[in-house]
Symmetry: D2
Amino acid sequence: MGMASYALASRDCQAQDTIVEINTSHKKIFIGEGYCTVIAGPCAVEGIEEYLAIARILQTSGVHVLRGGVFKPRTSPYSFKGLGSEGLKIISEARDITGLPVITEIMDVRDLDLLYENVDVLQIGSRNMQNFTLLEEVGKIDKPVMLKRGLSATIEEWLLAAEYILSGGNRRVILCERGIRTFEHFTRNTVDIGAVALLKQLSHLPIIVDPSHATGRWKMVSPIARAAVAAGADGIMVEVHQNPDQALSDGKQSLTPQNFDKMFKKIIQLAELDGKIIQ
Amino acid sequence: MGMASYALASRDCQAQDTIVEINTSHKKIFIGEGYCTVIAGPCAVEGIEEYLAIARILQTSGVHVLRGGVFKPRTSPYSFKGLGSEGLKIISEARDITGLPVITEIMDVRDLDLLYENVDVLQIGSRNMQNFTLLEEVGKIDKPVMLKRGLSATIEEWLLAAEYILSGGNRRVILCERGIRTFEHFTRNTVDIGAVALLKQLSHLPIIVDPSHATGRWKMVSPIARAAVAAGADGIMVEVHQNPDQALSDGKQSLTPQNFDKMFKKIIQLAELDGKIIQ
Amino acid sequence: MGMASYALASRDCQAQDTIVEINTSHKKIFIGEGYCTVIAGPCAVEGIEEYLAIARILQTSGVHVLRGGVFKPRTSPYSFKGLGSEGLKIISEARDITGLPVITEIMDVRDLDLLYENVDVLQIGSRNMQNFTLLEEVGKIDKPVMLKRGLSATIEEWLLAAEYILSGGNRRVILCERGIRTFEHFTRNTVDIGAVALLKQLSHLPIIVDPSHATGRWKMVSPIARAAVAAGADGIMVEVHQNPDQALSDGKQSLTPQNFDKMFKKIIQLAELDGKIIQ
Amino acid sequence: MGMASYALASRDCQAQDTIVEINTSHKKIFIGEGYCTVIAGPCAVEGIEEYLAIARILQTSGVHVLRGGVFKPRTSPYSFKGLGSEGLKIISEARDITGLPVITEIMDVRDLDLLYENVDVLQIGSRNMQNFTLLEEVGKIDKPVMLKRGLSATIEEWLLAAEYILSGGNRRVILCERGIRTFEHFTRNTVDIGAVALLKQLSHLPIIVDPSHATGRWKMVSPIARAAVAAGADGIMVEVHQNPDQALSDGKQSLTPQNFDKMFKKIIQLAELDGKIIQ
């Protein structure tokens, strides 16, 4: 493939794996080669009681990072768009209570300061993978950024999007494979497990897989999470909801806490087989 | 297809075609059923002399709207990103001199006031078709917005993106088909002429075709422009450059002024055959 | 693109356009540069009376070649697969009565002799574009072959499939664009009108467009047929049925004879504007 | 998804997993739930000495089924198409010497008797997944058939292709995921590991993954093979060549015997973790 166009993201530029450190008041969490990191939570923050309850349950299972959407990118202007800054207070409180780091999505550059204050990892969603304005802004901060792959993005385009952030000065970039669009209509997207193996060759950046969005079917989440770890992914991000049937978004792809716990144990077993550090 | 999820954009909601009026100090330009509107100019504004020269040439050919990128979305952070606000002054001056309305792309919500003052039509590019923050902001203004189709967007997603703008109160939305991503590697994208015919059934919004980006090959621009008009498109948008070989971006898909003029005449001939008003 | 891998199909090999001559007892029909050829008929031959009736109607409209499927490739083994050799007798009789040449699809190499005797043009369907055994066999005969593009085939793969036939000695190959698979679900396929313009540059072979299969919606057939001719296609192939609602296959994309006649007149008008010979 | 259109292939029709038995004079091999079966060999049979040598090496590693192409479907008519019936004698001899069952691809219905005599499993390649004539013929025999997924086939189309074979009376169908076409150009295809998890829900048929064709890059073969087994695949099929650099086809995706052996051991380890029977 010749000289990579994504210089800073390439392994040619940096042979050693990047291990992203997430600092919280309680403990440090690492994402990168040698670790297996599990991020979990509901698709959207729906209310304070529900969120704190699920956060405590996930903490008990052993989850490393909490997720929860407050600004939701929705295909239709008429869909539920998240609780906004109200939701931000809720995840911030869950962080204080559990001591776990939290991740949420940023959609608007004007929200950067607010999000910077309240969360530990900023997520750039699929639809914004090529929102270059947003990439440039998160490239200037000193917090980890999880960059989801665009719905039809090639690996090169994805690494070039990462390059926008890296070249701005922020080297704490985590890639997240969340399925690509294909002709398949039985699943929401098609998970590209090959991307994990390929990225480990091409780049030093950590790579996480999101089997919930990638499949859209909760029964596929556990096998795909296992496949991701077996292929070398540095962790997974999954959606968990107390009552998937009543979720305001993405219920069909959400695990119950019980099924999540079963999956978590299998993932840890596979990670141990590979000699990974369990945090 | 049942009740459309894109209510305001659907023909069920409004049977009559939307005709977008573009006001300038000199004359009115219309885009919509019954008209054939030609938008042309270089991919990027490269300098004041070059831009004013091409603007005058295009005015002589009979072009209705001038294009010129000043904020350029680029896959790589290392590519030429346009002249920015400096470029904006240039297209604004071309507008004053020629009396033609101008269109340019907006990438950042924070640039909205600046662009509002200086241009007649705001373009939302492919990569920002689902930048919902940006869609919401241009939905609040009283200037026409040209919404380009996302690289892998379905027609429904595209109409839902238009719905974001319409539901904000701005009813002057123009759709622009610019090719979709397919497996073909001989062309930059694959132009979806079927989208023109389909949109005329589903929606009342005007539809423009951009054969330059859709093909990436200047020799294909004229046949595809003709096909677009024959299929019922309300106009075309094409890239023209005095020296395509030396263009800072998209030279391979740019027509010379001579070839543009030939194409323009054929387009007008087809439009007249269909009984369209020539502005 | 360097030296073409599809040597015999390339324009580098033969600058002059191939014009395929179809011989029947009554008259000669040509497909290629300078002509506009219209092929029409029902998707499948359903019975002798119905087929002879539609054949006569189409003859009156001025159609140049009759189509009618007798061996139907079906995604499900439980769908109607055509009348087989019984259907072949019917189209052969329609040929005798109208004097028009007929085209039908070949699926099995073992049917070659039977089809050779009864039809004037053999069609290779999309699903068999890379059935290399079949391509090799039709490469040995002296009858025109219409090669439909595979559902997800690139232009290069399509030309290489043509190369199989050409290199076998049969130079009478006609390409047929019938839509490619994309993410769009409002239409059956996505018609690639750009392929017409591109093929005219890359190859000397004639190119026909099938707007019926390409769209799957009869209301789109006429605009796409016009777009095809405006882009430079050498003709079109469309499905026509007396009672589209009762068709055994593809009713939704079939024109009534009345709508076909309207479309035919518009196509001829466009072809005349381009100075094409009307047969 | 309602009532499945692929009745015989669906789990609704048969809740119990199909376990395909491959009989040879020496021993029985099983493919299906509870087993992990490894198929390996060179892409194409290139000569008797080379093939017998690699067959013995693979036998020593513990491979369960030998592969080797003798009729090769090639995109270009000018590429190496395999040794044909000469190659068939070679794999048949390897079968006699090693006692291992052999699999090869059938492209032409006229070769069926010859292949039936000489091989234990017939493979239908991607390009022939919808060669319905061929599917019908292998549906009439009493030998296992491995059906590769078409390059852009949906799961439903693939299961309907299997249905052609099943409804003909042959119930010994093995599915093989070999990657689908996507926009990615760094890999040959994109492996769909999600298909494994989905098929285990929808169907009772065994599913094998081919990481060699799916990726086109030998360094990705081992991680993808592991991912496949972790996701629940019933086995893998990989390409192995003594001198990948000198292979007549697919060298870039072939493992050396040494790398194959390492991968084989890891696969077995994962299969044992899942409680699978090692044959």
